[in-house]
Symmetry: C2
DNA sequence: TTAAATGCAAAAAATTTGCAGACGT
DNA sequence: ACGTCTGCAAATTTTTTGCATTTAA
């Protein structure tokens, strides 16, 4: 990741320790739910309030600075915005990984079929990860 | 759709008027949120309670009889389970349509890259529908 | 200095639960 | 008749809001 402080500035969000924690956690864990974020941050920053986490998640989402990943059968997780990518969920351990897949042909075909102008795609593949499969 | 009553029986859920309404609405509208379902049913069935809608959605989801569609930036909608398919969302009017796309190659590639055993896919394409584009 | 961010507590929204009575099989 | 379902009200859970105080720029 770049510098967390720079990232915030670029997105015209004021730099506060709370926000640096949020970015830091997301950078470390890649995908976290609101509650996971809150609990993680509280360890290093016990005074943070859940309301602040919510407010900042919403603020950062409005700036397209972080993204919500809506996961089947699970709570949403949040990630730092990066190049567009898809997600793979392990149904056993709940882990979510990024994967870079080319959806060009697929969205082109969809655009043809539906006559929509496609602007975004959200793909989540679910299955069993190698580690869980082994056990 | 088949017969709503048959569908319920097949999935070993008792047939009640409330459940028939839910299935009927979903069959008619394809994708509805909890609140939309509740409001729609209340018109024909004023005594139904929101708790009943929730209980039944959950019961039907457990039987894999209806599915939750988690839509970016929107509330979840529910649909009757059918052959696996993807969704196209209009970001302007909020409409959701089904689309049948072949994700075989894509999931095969993903399986290779990640070494996951892929079992499900959830793809939502977002854009602008022809009607909204026109206006 | 000043607008914006924080933390708290309270409010609102979304979902679940317990239970008495009604209903489906 | 039996076990399940319904509707209600209450309880939980999740998210948002208002406001006094603090803080970043």
């Amino acid at each position: 990741m770049k510098n967390a402080e720079m990232l915030l500035r670029e997105h015209q969000i004021k730099v506060t320790p709370q926000r640096l924690s949020i970015v830091g956690e997301l950078d470390g864990h890649v995908h976290m739910s609101v509650e996971e974020l809150y609990e993680a941050i509280k360890k290093k920053f016990p005074s943070i309030s859940l309301a602040t986490v919510y407010k900042n998640i919403n603020a950062m989402m409005e700036k397209n600075f972080i993204l919500e990943v809506k996961i089947p059968n699970k709570k949403s997780k949040y990630e730092l915005a990066k190049a567009s990518h898809s997600h793979v969920l392990c149904q056993e351990c709940g882990k979510v990984e990024d994967i870079s897949l080319d959806l060009h042909d697929l969205t082109a075909k969809a655009a043809n079929m539906t006559d929509y102008k496609i602007k975004e795609d959200a793909l989540i593949l679910s299955g069993v990860c190698p580690a869980c499969r082994a056990s």
